[in-house]
């Protein structure tokens, strides 16, 4: 079923600028989409709309419709949507809060009253390669491990779609590769839909399949990576780096 966005407009409370302005979008199951655009163009806001944080938790003027599996996000709670759409926020330090890695992953499962908690925790940690860290303190992990743990927390809830907001902005090259390798595995082997906001177009050229270019709250271009990255003039105008080997 995927996620359908129909004519979405959003203005944050207390501001007059339309952060999203007439966005129409269809995300199919199994897509690997990279979202690019200048800072402040509404990438993060779009992600928040896709999993119902907007308008359920973040208030503002919301027009249009976001349908997750055919159900509008306005009619269900964020916690209910968490089973379908998971999100990894930008800063790992402020989304990890538990005393142990095990508890961190189990937190969402317990809240959603899922069964087989222990087993799912083990599976999720195995998927991201954090076996053996069950009793470690999340805050003491390395940056790369923290990011992997954030992903594990989402993967454990087994949503169909995973949204990531600049997952590699403070990681070194090796960990960045690890994260994207994991995303590719989740996408190809488990059929998860991945939507990732990323500044590094080289990475997207390598891993993503579709690219979404956003500027000033509007979708400027939406298509396969070949289609988008060959439009050098558009990327140049928006100040987006053209990936190596595409010009």
């Amino acid at each position: 079923m995927g996620i359908t966005v129909k004519n979405l407009c959003f203005t944050y409370h207390g501001s007059s600028k339309k952060v999203l302005d007439g966005v129409n979008l269809k995300i199919e199951d199994g897509d690997f989409i990279g979202v690019v655009g200048p800072t402040g163009s509404g990438k993060t806001t779009l992600l928040y709309c896709l999993n119902g944080l907007i308008p359920n938790s973040i208030k503002g003027k919301f027009y249009g419709e976001v349908l997750v599996d055919g159900v509008p996000t306005t009619s269900c709670k964020v916690s209910a949507l968490a089973k379908k759409v998971g999100i990894v926020f930008q800063d790992p330090d402020w989304q990890l809060f538990s005393v142990t890695v095990k508890d961190e992953v189990a937190f969402g499962l317990k809240n959603l009253r899922m069964n087989r908690v222990e087993e799912r925790v083990r599976e999720a940690l195995k998927t991201v390669g954090l076996e053996g860290f069950e009793d470690a303190e999340p805050y003491r992990l390395s940056q790369g491990q923290k990011q992997m743990l954030c992903i594990a927390c989402v993967v454990a809830m087994q949503p169909k779609t995973i949204l990531l907001d600049e997952p590699t902005s403070n990681l070194d090259y090796k960990n960045t590769k690890n994260v994207y390798g994991l995303l590719r595995r989740l996408n190809r082997e488990e059929g998860k839909t991945i939507v990732v906001v990323e500044h590094d177009t080289d990475l997207l050229a390598e891993y993503a399949e579709k690219i979404l270019v956003i500027n000033d709250g509007k979708i400027v271009k939406n298509g396969s990576k070949e289609e988008v990255f060959s439009d050098c003039r558009l990327l140049e105008n928006l100040g987006i780096k053209i990936p190596r080997g595409w010009f």
Partner: protein
């Protein structure tokens, strides 16, 4: 001679009850190997102790020196230090996990709130360090004792950043099914 014997009597009395406790606490600092961490606080503790002693000594019976004041001064200073050292040992020998487990008899939202705030402390501490370094790099003079000049440039960014991050944390909790 009389003065000396009076003094020894006073000191003896004041030390009688509190001293054994104080020294056992002091000894446990070494038993639990937390003395290295204590070094940074030593100056503060000594100053605070002396301050209590001085205030008690000179204000106990009107303004002016009195032996009773000294008696209570020593006693209170030792009590104060005992308490501080006990808390110090407790904090540095108890992992957050154990502390949270001890409070698990509370209703879930309360114990969760406690766990959350205890776990967020190191992050806020790190944030404060970053802000202090940033302000130092921009020439904020920490040697002046003028609290109105030193604290606002640290507390205001710390508070606004913490509020901002706490909102993000709230979003993260919601997306993990917490209501």
């Amino acid at each position: 001679m009389v003065a000396l014997s009076t003094l020894s009597l006073i000191v003896g009395w004041s030390l009688l009850y509190i001293t054994p406790i104080f020294f056992s606490v002091l000894a446990s600092i070494f038993v639990f190997r937390v003395y290295r961490k204590l070094l940074g606080w030593l100056k503060f503790l000594v100053i605070a102790g002396l301050l209590i002693l001085a205030v008690q000594t000179f204000t106990y019976s009107g303004f002016g020196f009195s032996f009773e004041g000294l008696f209570y001064g020593v006693s209170f200073a030792l009590r104060f230090l005992t308490l501080i050292l006990l808390v110090f040992i407790f904090v540095h020998t108890t992992p957050t996990r154990k502390l949270v487990e001890a409070f698990s008899f509370l209703p879930y939202p309360l114990s969760f709130m406690l766990m959350l705030s205890l776990n967020m402390l190191p992050r806020i501490e790190d944030l404060a360090k970053t802000i202090v370094n940033a302000q130092k790099a921009r020439g904020l003079n920490f040697k002046t004792l003028n609290v109105f000049k030193v604290y606002p440039p640290i507390l205001i960014p710390l508070l606004s950043k913490t509020l901002e991050k706490s909102q993000q944390l709230a979003l993260a909790l919601q997306t993990r099914g917490f209501e």
